[in-house]
């Protein structure tokens, strides 16, 4: 048994570990002797909550399935094993004039994890989720079946696995659609805003002309609602290079304890630094998309009790009211959050049955685990999300009550359950789905 914890480091739990040496290996038997408990895929453990944990059960780790099997430049596709890290894949693709259309705020995740959480990026309004660009994959089931899944074959499994949090089987390889790029540069602009109204104006005006939009909000200092709006496009002139020093992310979070003071300082300094860059500038894609990847294991700064990320989506135009309400509750609670990441989701539909995004606003905030105080705040936030008809992102969740989950994901749950592998289970599925 090996102790594993997820990115939020809220708890450690013993797991049996099985890391297949290659993608042709069968899954271990669920009822083996001694029984290994049920199975759950493990990618790179970048889920914040309990989606990637299966306490006292078996984790199927994709660490050795890291081959890039084919890049087809004519078709603009790549075939990869499920354990390939997006970082390695992107680094190579960019030299061939391609990129993944959708990557999350860290590239230290696997292709399998990206499919299972149906991750989203800053360009949701243009490109939807990761799952929108998955052409096919191979799914290993605990009964030994090997299912080739695509929109046309085993389509139920295809749709259930995208966003299915590893509960439908183990993905061994996938074929993904790529997008063309001229280089690795993003032409970016950072604009400060003083209120959520200003955010809404910026978001509305940027949606058409900018592929990537996201805002960092400061929930502690000031009157609330201020922040930095970042937008950018891929630089499409391949001749453009910047010489010398990379215009990187100007500031990485202080590696210190997260307390009221450091938070306030961080937010103030961050705000000040970035508010001075309203003119367009060139930045390498990795610094623009994954600023936190520059600090290895930044999650440890929260100390032994770990931390939570609360990420909700609140639908429609009224969603902004909920965001306002959330900010108020946070500011009143004194449970400050480093950064709130606020963005708009567009209406592009993912094939995933349990996929998280819906048109509206998504807000993600980190909180140190301060026990009942934090739990109390979350209960208040839950009420806002529920009333707004929103839901929480399973890849981030470690604590939502089952009734909020059921209200949020509603009728999709029944359809999803049909494709769940009875030999698979996670701490999250036992907590929220009863299996």
């Amino acid at each position: 048994m090996v102790e594993f914890s997820s990115w939020g480091q809220l708890y450690k739990a013993p797991h049996r570990l099985y890391a297949p040496a290659h993608r042709f290996s069968p899954l271990p038997s669920v009822t083996g002797d001694p029984p290994g408990g049920k199975l759950l895929p493990w990618g790179n453990g970048r889920s914040y909550g309990d989606a990637c944990l299966n306490s006292h059960g078996t984790l199927i780790w994709s660490a050795f399935l890291d081959s890039i099997l084919d890049i087809d430049p004519a078709a603009g596709t790549v075939r990869v094993e499920a354990g390939v890290l997006l970082r390695d894949l992107q680094r190579l693709l960019v030299t061939r004039g391609f990129m993944l259309p959708v990557t999350p705020g860290t590239q230290e995740i696997t292709v399998g994890g990206a499919i299972a959480s149906d991750v989203h990026c800053k360009n949701h309004h243009r490109f939807g989720t990761f799952g929108c660009h998955v052409l096919s994959f191979t799914l290993l089931r605990s009964d030994g079946q090997i299912l080739e899944c695509s929109p046309d074959s085993n389509s139920g499994y295809f749709r259930a696995t995208i966003g299915g949090m590893g509960l439908t089987g183990f993905v061994t390889e996938a074929t993904l659609k790529l997008r063309k790029v001229s280089g690795s540069l993003i032409r970016a602009e950072y604009h400060k805003f003083a209120s959520l109204d200003e955010f809404c104006v910026l978001a509305r005006d940027s949606g058409k002309d900018y592929e990537h939009t996201v805002a960092w909000t400061d929930c502690i200092s000031g009157s609330g609602g201020r922040g930095i709006f970042m937008r950018g496009n891929h630089e499409d002139d391949p001749k453009v290079r910047f010489a010398g020093r990379s215009l990187g992310f100007p500031f990485t979070p202080p590696v210190s304890l997260v307390n009221g003071l450091s938070l306030r300082m961080f937010n103030a300094v961050y705000y000040w630094l970035n508010s001075r860059k309203s003119k367009p500038f060139l930045i390498n894609y990795d610094k623009f998309f994954y600023p936190l990847d520059a600090v290895t294991n930044w999650n440890r700064i929260y100390g032994p009790k770990g931390f939570y990320q609360y990420q909700c989506v609140v639908p429609g135009k009224d969603g902004m009211e909920a965001v306002r309400e959330i900010q108020k509750l946070i500011s009143r609670s004194g449970e400050g959050s480093f950064l709130g990441v606020l963005k708009t989701f567009g209406d592009m539909k993912s094939p995933g049955i349990l996929s998280f995004p819906m048109p509206g606003f998504t807000y993600a905030l980190d909180f140190p685990n301060r026990g009942t105080k934090t739990a109390k705040l979350f209960a208040d936030l839950d009420a806002v999300v529920r009333n707004a008809g929103g839901r929480l992102y399973l890849a981030k969740d470690a604590r939502q009550p089952r009734e909020l989950f059921e209200a949020g994901y509603g009728s999709s749950l029944e359809e999803f359950a049909r494709y769940v592998d009875p030999g698979f289970s996670s701490d999250l599925s036992r907590r929220l789905m009863g299996f």
């Binding site: 040496a21 081959s67 890039i68 084919d70 030299t95």
Partner: protein, 253 residues
């Protein structure tokens, strides 16, 4: 320097595969991959093709059913060299999957382990050396720190590896005496994350395979004689080798 033809024996090894990736990224022009399973070996080849930066990149696979059979090894090496003499051969097969106690409880297993970890790499190494000794290529064998001193926990595996060590010393001596430029080197990895050691995750610190591969590739480029990876194992093993029995025999290592 760009390699024109690299042969990897035991190409599905995670360590060897990661070295090959680096060579492919650096522009090596062709690979011949030797493995016992066609499907898995082909998969490694596909990965190298995807990552290669060389124009007209070529990769071919050669299956060898029994790595310990002198006949099969000789045939494979003859065929591979018939297509052109390689400038670099990496020999990586080996296994410490079975516990020492299992190996000592069965003569069959004992013999199989010695054959795989000791005899098989040497059959390949000598067969390649016989064809490469007029040139200035390189033969690199993956040994192990386990071969530096016999220990209760893994001396069967260690004995296979130390056999390789002695053989490499002798080959180097021979090349020197005969004015040959063929370079024969030995890699001695410490515990490294790979399928062979995956069971140790959580109970032992394992080196990251990428950095191990980088150190190997750098050492091979400099034509080093013995490459300990990570480097600290050179010091640790020096201490262990020099340790007097009255201390050593009390250590459970």
């Amino acid at each position: 320097m760009k390699y024109r033809k690299i042969v990897i024996v035991g190409a599905t090894s995670f360590i060897a595969h990661n070295c090959a990736r680096l060579w492919a990224e650096q522009g090596a022009e062709s690979f011949t991959l030797v493995g016992r399973d066609v499907e898995r070996t082909t998969s490694v080849g596909q990965d190298l093709r995807s990552r290669s930066s060389a124009e007209g990149f070529k990769v071919s696979c050669r299956q060898v059913g029994d790595f310990c059979s002198p006949g099969e090894v000789e045939d494979a090496v003859r065929e591979i060299c018939g297509d052109g003499i390689p400038d670099l051969v990496l020999i990586a097969q080996g296994s410490s999957a079975e516990a020492n106690s299992e190996l000592t409880a069965s003569s069959g297993k004992l013999s199989a382990s010695l054959a795989l970890n000791g005899i098989s790499p040497l059959l390949f190494a000598q067969a390649f050396a016989n064809r490469m000794q007029d040139g200035d290529g390189q033969i690199v064998i993956v040994g192990s720190v386990a071969g530096d001193r016999g220990r209760a926990s893994n001396y069967v595996y260690g004995a296979g590896k130390s056999m390789v060590d002695t053989f490499v010393q002798g080959m180097r001596h021979y090349m020197a005496l005969n004015g040959r430029n063929l370079e024969v080197s030995l890699i001695k990895p410490g515990p490294t994350f790979s399928p062979m050691t995956a069971e140790l995750v959580g109970s032992m610190k394992l080196a990251d395979v990428r950095s191990v591969a980088e150190a190997i590739v750098a050492g091979v480029r400099r034509r080093k004689k013995v490459i300990y990876v990570p480097f600290k194992w050179r010091i640790i093993m020096l201490i262990i080798r020099l340790m007097p029995d009255f201390i050593f025999n009390r250590l459970k290592i």
